[in-house]
């Protein structure tokens, strides 16, 4: 521990007498504001950003080309077939929706749980949520056979006098994902308004002042506003909490309410939610590590934050592993031969390669986070995040494809191979995702300044007073200098 203890940026020291600071360095309100908002307003955009943006925009172009081709030719351009009617498109949908869980989880659930360390990363995670949900939303829309009538899924009055079928899990999906996207967007935007006002007030260009001015809706930091704002934020967090649990539950209903062996499982909702949080945190980490490195945010997004995330990854990864084991147990214990075979086939059938990739990445890899050295070493954890991302994509692949390819009647057993269009569409969705992330870090405040300010020691109006247990400002180091802003 000792070498780490000398590192001024290491706040992961296990010392029960001295809680780790959440914000490092000699930062006050001013320096925080400057450091974060200058990324958007002052600093010259790094050349690397332009290179990265060119690449991701190109990939986004590929995505739309593939969608255009799909639109002209039909869903047959993918590798789908009769037993496997859902392939990469649905896998990608579940994958992206899953990733979209971290943001709201961090914002909402950790907010309700008074986890102050969330403030440094919640903006980033929420943004990522929105972008992941956008990527996710593309797939169910384009995967239908007749894209031009997809609006029939909405309960709109029409001359056929028909309504959608509310018993279908796909319709639940429409509502769940739609609600989730909407509420996440509202939540993200609400949280961002004070920071947009900061940008407005620091912007020097007229255009910037106007645009950020419009977005900031006239925020002027009035406490009467803050009062309702905090209430609204709390309520939104309260609403988003069951929502975040429900979205992946509903997505899991797509599978769980079907009767295909390997899909028809009551364990799916919790298992999907755990997996979603698992993959979401991994994706947040994947993006956060380069971002904090390149934009000098290590003092705000500290090793402590990363370590906490790694602990959550460890916890949810273990839940996922437990779920895998439970599935097998139930498959055997139920005595249902079709169910048993579905799982034997997963592990040892034609798709066993996918299954074992999934298990290695999702179950074995995260267990390394038990080791403190592993969960506090940045390059190692970044590699782990990549593994988890891969593993979680394969989890969805395994669930979707291996269950479908061999169901009840052996006569209809088949095999599914993706086509180039499948692959490019998926790669293109990453292009879109990273394009949006790049635009976000270039044009919007990456760290929630107003929120971080609240957890800075100097923010405490009662500093010096004895802290109440569970107080919102709980973990402020007693030894930290007072009135740093003076």
């Amino acid at each position: 521990m000792s070498p780490a203890a000398h590192d001024p940026l290491n706040n992961t020291v296990d010392d029960p007498t001295r809680p780790n600071a959440l914000i490092l360095g000699d930062n006050d309100f001013t320096s925080l504001t400057v450091k974060v908002s200058d990324i958007v307003l002052e600093r010259k955009t790094p050349r690397a950003w332009y290179v990265a943006f060119t690449v991701t925009a190109g990939l986004t172009g590929v995505l739309f080309l593939m969608i255009g081709y799909l639109f002209i030719k039909g869903v047959g351009v993918w590798g789908l077939n009769n037993p496997v009617s859902w392939g990469w498109a649905i896998v990608n949908f579940v994958f992206w929706v899953g990733i979209g869980h971290a943001g709201t989880l961090i914002s909402a659930i950790l907010f309700l749980l008074r986890q102050k360390w969330r403030t440094s990363i919640n903006r980033f995670a929420e943004a990522m949520t929105i972008f992941a949900v956008i990527c996710a939303g593309i797939f169910p829309a384009i995967h239908v056979g007749r894209i031009w009538v997809v609006y029939w899924l909405f309960p709109l009055p029409n001359y056929q006098a028909m309504w959608p079928n509310f018993r279908s899990p796909l319709l639940w999906d429409v509502f769940a994902v739609g609600t989730y996207a909407t509420v996440s967007l509202l939540f993200w935007y609400t949280g961002m308004v004070p920071d947009l006002a900061t940008l407005r007030d620091r912007a020097r260009g007229r255009m910037q002042q106007i645009i950020y001015g419009i977005l900031a809706v006239g925020w002027r930091g009035s406490h009467r506003h803050w009062h309702r704002y905090e209430k609204a934020y709390l309520i939104l967090a309260g609403l988003a909490t069951p929502l975040v649990l429900s979205v992946h539950s509903v997505v899991s209903f797509d599978f769980a309410t079907a009767q295909i062996p390997g899909w028809h499982t009551t364990i799916f909702p919790p298992y999907f939610v755990a997996g979603a949080v698992f993959s979401g945190f991994a994706m947040v980490g994947t993006l956060l590590i380069p971002a904090r490195q390149w934009f000098g945010l290590k003092e705000f997004i500290t090793l402590h934050h990363l370590e906490n995330m790694n602990k959550i990854i460890l916890a949810t990864g273990s839940m996922v592993g437990f779920a895998y084991a439970t599935e097998f147990f139930i498959a055997w214990y139920s005595g249902n031969p079709n169910e048993s075979f579905a799982f034997v086939n997963r592990a040892f059938g034609p798709y066993s390669w996918a299954y074992w990739i999934m298990v290695s990445c999702n179950v074995i890899t995260p267990q390394l986070f038990w080791i403190k050295k592993v969960r506090t070493t940045v390059p190692v954890m970044w590699a782990m995040y990549i593994f988890v991302n891969i593993g979680m994509w394969f989890e969805r692949f395994v669930i979707t494809v291996t269950s479908l390819h061999r169901d009840f009647l052996p006569s209809s057993w088949g095999y599914y191979d993706p086509t180039v269009v499948d692959i490019l569409t998926f790669v293109g969705s990453f292009g879109l995702f990273f394009t949006l992330v790049l635009l976000f870090i270039r044009f919007l405040p990456m760290v929630a300044m107003a929120e971080v300010k609240t957890v800075m020691p100097i923010a405490d109006a009662h500093s010096g007073e004895r802290r109440a247990v569970g107080d919102y400002h709980g973990d402020i180091p007693a030894a930290s200098p007072e009135g740093g802003g003076a």
Partner: protein, 234 residues
């Protein structure tokens, strides 16, 4: 809106006078109400668009294309009181109500108005065997299977779908013929039922209560219109 304050704090927290500040003019506060109105209006507009403008009612109602022969139903079916079935012979027995062959026209027009200019193309068709190309007015999508015979046998009058053809010089579509419209009658056929012998009668009115008669006919003739999708779509 030039700020009236020139003192600039020297801290990095900006507010310095080096740049001009943009302050939104006062009228922008009206945009709040304006955007709310716009959002609500947009919603209403979208609903109207989907239910109304996209509906076949908008495009099909009143459709009255010009026909190659200026045949007047008002004259033949109205003034001269020809029965519909004189020309549309298969309507009672088959799915389609046929358009009469030229020969049917010539039954009369071999002797009546033999020199009329407007009948020139009819005579030509009869001589050459080349059919007259009529423009279809009541045109259902091809995935809809409508059967004239079963409706006629159930006692649905021609008028229910085609309107007062006996008053039309040029046939036009007077009912929307949309799925919702079909369903209205399938769900409550009574008002549109009449004794089978009067199906082609354009003037027929029941002396009593139409609904009551309809219900009686439904019972007598065991008319239970189906709402199953497969009835019309297969």
């Amino acid at each position: 809106m030039v700020p009236d304050h020139n003192e600039s704090p020297q801290s990095p927290g900006r507010g310095d006078a080096s740049t001009e500040r943009f302050v939104f003019p006062k009228w922008t506060n009206w945009l709040r109400e304006a955007s709310a109105v716009l959002a609500l209006g947009g919603l209403v507009y979208a609903v109207i668009l989907v239910t109304g403008v996209f509906s076949p009612e908008m495009s099909a109602l009143g459709y009255a294309p010009e026909q190659p022969v200026p045949y007047s139903h008002a004259l033949h079916a109205g003034k001269m009181d020809l029965d519909c079935r004189y020309c549309h012979t298969t309507v009672e027995t088959t799915a389609r109500a046929n358009i009469p062959p030229t020969a049917t026209c010539m039954n009369c027009h071999a002797t009546v108005r033999t020199q009329s200019e407007s009948l020139a193309s009819v005579r030509e068709s009869f001589e050459t065997g080349k059919p007259v190309e009529w423009v279809q007015v009541h045109d259902l999508p091809d995935f809809v299977y409508f059967n004239h015979a079963s409706h006629i046998q159930a006692g649905v009058g021609c008028i229910s779908c085609h309107g007062r053809v006996d008053r039309m010089d040029v046939v036009e579509q007077v009912e929307p013929l949309t799925m919702g419209w079909c369903l209205d009658c399938h769900r409550d056929p009574a008002p549109n039922l009449r004794p089978v012998e009067f199906v082609t009668d354009m003037e027929w009115q029941t002396a009593g209560d139409a609904d009551e008669l309809g219900r009686r006919l439904m019972e007598e003739r065991r008319i239970t219109p189906s709402e199953d999708c497969a009835t019309c779509h297969r």
